[in-house]
């Protein structure tokens, strides 16, 4: 557990006179990052989120207040020892360009005096664990893509198996596709490792996706709201938080609502290469095309098929929801489908059935009713 108690960071103003009138980066912050959970600090630039993070491993010294890790005041520890016990991941990874991936990962264990062989064996394990090919261990950072570098950064931070991790915008310098993949793997890793993580981002979507709890900070370093992501979207405390969590809150909040068991409609399907007559025989304007494993490929407009169904005829706009997914995915599948029927697949990727938006809405309404009752009961 990381605990901030009345932590303030004040920078001297330009004149250099520290007369208490300097600019406040963090203002009397009291916050707890519970053990084994991800606490996300989010806010606009200038809200002091990075300052807050960097005060934990004393890269920045607080002006006043105490920060403790598992009850121990960080100010009382030797600074190098403190840092070696905390995993540290930063934007752009900050890998050492002159060291191979393997030697980057062994950095902290080597500083702690672990012998080279043990450190390397553990590093190889971690390299695989973060989803890198073991053959990459011998490469240098310059030979890796941004996403790969960031994975090495995470492996390096985990190398000495620290209970606490500090992550400063680790995924913001990679493109959106890679970012989502890194986020997903990060969540998978965390579900296995259960570290106490303090995570800084300016991206509210990332905060909401990754955080067990999210702390929204406002400019000047004031904690505006600390809540679970679902609560944050459903019930922002003030206009600032509401504005910051942004538009489509109602829709995005559905990400946290597991899809209930809804009755799905069986969908007649065709395969690639199906003849035009067979497609038209289905009798609907849009017909779902699946592959040999019954995994959905796309919708095809019956009227557009001249001889047989080809890949080029497939409509690619629709999303596929998973039976174990969220209400949001379910609704999105229905809304994005050209036929109005959202495609739902099982966990194995095979088609289960379809559902219309009008059938999802009652489930959403029912959920609202139950949460309102809960609120009134409290």
């Amino acid at each position: 557990m990381i605990r901030f108690e009345g932590v303030t960071k004040r920078y001297a103003d330009a004149s250099g006179a520290d007369d208490g009138a300097g600019s406040l980066a963090v203002d009397d912050l009291t916050l707890e990052a519970p053990t084994g959970k991800i606490t996300v600090l989010v806010g606009p630039s200038g809200c002091g989120k990075t300052t807050t993070l960097r005060m934990v491993n004393r890269m920045i010294t607080p002006t006043s207040g105490t920060i403790s890790i598992d009850g121990k005041d960080t100010a009382s520890l030797d600074v190098a020892e403190l840092r070696r016990g905390i995993g540290y991941v930063i934007q752009h990874a900050g890998l050492f360009p002159h060291r191979t991936v393997l030697d980057n990962v062994t950095t902290v264990p080597r500083l702690l005096g672990t012998d080279k062989r043990t450190a390397r064996a553990r590093a190889m394990e971690l390299i695989e664990r973060v989803g890198l090919d073991p053959a990459m261990a011998r490469r240098y950072p310059a030979q890796l893509s941004g996403g790969q570098q960031q994975r090495v950064g995470v492996a390096r931070a985990l190398a000495a198996d620290p209970p606490v991790m500090l992550m400063d915008e680790p995924f913001s310098a990679v493109d959106p596709v890679v970012r989502e993949q890194l986020q997903n793997e990060f969540l998978r890793l965390q579900s296995e490792l259960g570290k106490t993580i303090l995570f800084v981002t300016h991206d509210i979507d990332e905060a909401v996706k990754l955080g067990d709890q999210v702390a929204v900070l406002r400019v000047g370093g004031v904690l505006a709201q600390l809540d679970s992501p679902a609560k944050l979207l459903a019930d922002p405390v003030d206009d600032f938080v509401a504005g910051f969590v942004g538009r489509d809150r109602g829709y995005r909040a559905l990400s946290f609502a597991a899809a209930p068991e809804l009755s799905l409609t069986d969908e007649p399907t065709v395969r690639l290469g199906a003849r035009a007559d067979d497609v038209r025989a289905v009798g609907t304007p849009w017909v779902l095309c699946v592959d040999d494993d019954r995994e959905p490929l796309g919708w095809v407009r019956a009227a557009a098929v001249e001889t047989e169904v080809t890949r080029t005829l497939l409509h690619r706009g629709g999303t596929v929801a998973s039976v174990s997914g969220s209400l949001r995915a379910l609704l999105d599948a229905a809304l994005s489908s050209p036929s109005g029927r959202g495609v739902v697949a099982g966990d194995d990727g095979r088609l289960v059935g379809t559902i219309r938006a009008a059938e999802v809405i009652p489930a959403i309404e029912a959920r609202r009713d139950s949460t309102t009752e809960e609120a009134t009961a409290r």
Binding site: N57, M59, V79, A80, E81, L82, R83, R84, Y88, I90, Q91, H92, A93, G94, L95, F96, P97, H98, R99, T100, T107, L111, G131, L132, D133, A135, M136, R139, Y140, P141, A142, Q143, L144, S145, G147, Q148, G153, A157, L166, D175, V177, V178, E180, Q181, N184, E185, R188, G298, R311, R316, G318, T319, V320, A321, S324, G325, A329, D332, A333, V343
Partner: protein, 283 residues
């Protein structure tokens, strides 16, 4: 003057013996060079490292570079005239010569060291501190290895310049390979002058070669760009093992996969293709 005359000068045993022999002159020349570089290194490296590390007083580097414009020979005479009367020994000539050469060697060393330390990625430095390296460890384990290529190129250019310019020591009656030039000129022995010049050139080339070899050994392939060449050749001949990550890794957490017609545009493989070009961009 013919090629034969040059060959016969080099093969004349008389030119390889005594004070005026090649071995002695080369030794003297190397001694001046080594002494000069040593003094210049002691001055320029800590200064350059400090400027690069702190980012303060960058004008020192600019100023030193501007000082390169001062004519070395003129400066040597000026310094000798001022210092000479104050010292009663051979040092009266040695000190001004070395001082002038040191002044020549400082700018490349200073800017090489400064630029080397300055070029260390701030993120790498931050990560090093954040992982619990002490200040000394950050310097020796991260900053110095990363600064090495630029520092060594400064050292190479300083060495070349000092070897070439150390010939001027002879003009104030000291030794070194410059003797062949000055004495040759005085006695109109042009063969001797040419041979002296050849010796200086060979010495400079050999010294540069040795430093290049050292650079090759000391600089990590991760920085020198040798690894970049490896990466490029791999990009041209992609073997299966070097596929970017995630290429064959299904993503169990993405609950909302886009419904696409063909596998070739799936989100997972899109990642694989973004991996490779960015890798290529870097190299």
């Amino acid at each position: 003057m013919t090629f034969a005359q040059i060959v016969s000068w080099f093969t004349d045993p008389a030119n390889w013996q005594g004070t005026d022999g090649v071995p002695n002159r080369v030794t003297e020349h190397l001694l001046y060079t080594a002494l000069t570089l040593l003094i210049a290194l002691v001055i320029a490296v800590p200064l350059g490292a400090w400027v690069g590390h702190s980012g303060r007083m960058r004008w020192l580097v600019t100023g030193a570079n501007a000082a390169r414009a001062v004519p070395t020979l003129g400066l040597l005479f000026a310094v000798s005239m001022f210092v000479g009367p104050l010292i009663k020994s051979d040092l009266a000539f040695v000190i001004p010569s070395i001082a002038v050469l040191v002044l020549l060697a400082i700018p490349p060393l200073l800017s090489g060291t400064y630029a080397g330390i300055d070029s260390v990625e701030p993120a790498a430095r931050d990560a090093a501190r954040g992982m619990g390296m002490t200040g000394w460890q950050v310097l020796t384990k991260v900053e110095v290895p990363c600064a090495l290529p630029l520092f060594l190129s400064g050292l190479r250019s300083a060495t070349l310049q000092v070897i070439a310019t150390a010939t001027i020591a002879a003009s104030v009656s000291l030794g070194g390979l410059g003797r062949y030039l000055i004495d040759g000129l005085a006695s109109r022995d042009y063969v001797q002058m040419v041979c002296g010049s050849i010796l200086v050139a060979v010495l400079a080339l050999v010294a540069d070669g040795i430093l290049a070899l050292l650079e090759n050994r000391a600089v990590s392939p991760g920085i020198s760009g040798r690894s970049a060449r490896v990466a490029r050749s791999r990009a041209r001949h992609p073997d299966h093992h070097s596929d970017p990550i995630g290429a064959d890794r299904p993503d169990p957490d993405s609950r909302q996969a886009a419904l696409v017609g063909s596998g070739s545009t799936g989100p997972v493989e899109a990642t694989a293709t973004t991996g490779t070009p960015s890798e290529r961009d870097r190299t």
